[in-house]
């Protein structure tokens, strides 16, 4: 019962943050509501017994990625977005379609996926088991990931550098 209350509470916080992200017009407000969503999701992961994923979620997503977003918003001095006229057909057909589709999906998920339940804490999600899996079965993907991150760092530096600096680098190199 306690788990259901916690799930519902954090789930409501999640959905409220996601809706707030859509409603807010200033990017910095959207970014902060996304931080709320990610923190609540970390709590949901803890409820599922995934301690490692919850820690990484807080450190990487709510920490690093969102700091990057906030820095870019401040760097570019982003103001409120302008409203543009949407298509009338999209409004007339899209909103009822969205409601019907989401209700249908929720109904199917709740009624057709059986009565089996997730046992809280049944999964050994502690970091040791994850590390054994990560460095044994998934060693090659893990190493490939490091190359991906290296390329991403270099790409970000090249793309974000001022054009004059890139030109100078070419002349020198």
């Amino acid at each position: 019962m306690l788990h259901l209350i916690l799930f519902t509470g954090f789930g409501l916080v999640c959905v409220a943050g996601a809706v707030n992200l859509l409603v807010q017009r200033h990017p910095i407000n959207s970014a902060l509501s996304l931080v709320v969503v990610m923190g609540a999701l970390a709590a949901e992961y803890l409820l599922l017994g995934a301690e490692f994923v919850a820690a990484v979620q807080v450190i990487v997503y709510a920490g690093a990625v969102m700091v990057l977003f906030v820095f870019v918003i401040m760097l570019l001095n982003a103001g409120e977005e302008e409203r543009t006229q949407g298509s009338r057909v999209a409004l007339l057909l899209g909103v009822p379609g969205l409601v019907v589709g989401s209700l249908l999906i929720a109904w199917v998920l709740i009624h057709r996926s059986g009565t089996e339940a997730v046992r809280v804490g049944a999964l050994p999600g502690y970091p040791k088991a994850i590390a054994q899996l990560l460095f044994h079965d998934f060693l090659l993907p893990f190493e490939v990931t490091s190359i991906l991150v290296l390329i991403a760092i270099m790409g970000a530096v090249v793309l974000a550098a001022k054009p004059s600096q890139v030109q100078q680098g070419k002349k020198e190199g």
């Binding site: 996601a18 969503v37 690093a64 870019v72 570019l76 977005e81 998920l109 994850i130 998934f138 530096v157």
Partner: protein
């Protein structure tokens, strides 16, 4: 005991919010944040299925998704800075040089 479908519905709601933001929003940074929201919804489904099937590899997959998302955020935000430098705007409606 929380049914698996509750987690899937929550993940679906987050993903739907991400799709809606991607389509509605006009600020390129907010569009990028909607993509992160979609990735988070998928991650929740991954962890819920991992707990349901007692398979830890689902959590390892979430780890990989997070790494790719971080790399994507770094490169994407650099591209946004480059776009802003040349076009002086963050509105995607005004970034239309490829349009006929």
């Amino acid at each position: 005991m929380i049914p698996l479908s509750y987690y899937l519905v929550l993940g679906g709601i987050l993903f739907a919010c991400g799709v809606a933001g991607f389509l509605i929003k006009r600020n390129i940074i907010t569009i990028f944040m909607s993509i992160e929201l979609m990735l988070n919804g998928v991650n929740l489904s991954f962890v819920a299925f991992a707990a349901h099937w007692h398979a830890l590899s689902g959590q390892v997959f979430v780890f990989f998704v997070m790494v790719v998302a971080a790399a994507e955020a770094a490169v994407g935000l650099a591209i946004i800075i480059a776009v802003y430098r040349t076009r002086e705007t963050l509105n995607v409606d005004q970034v239309n040089l490829l349009k006929l």
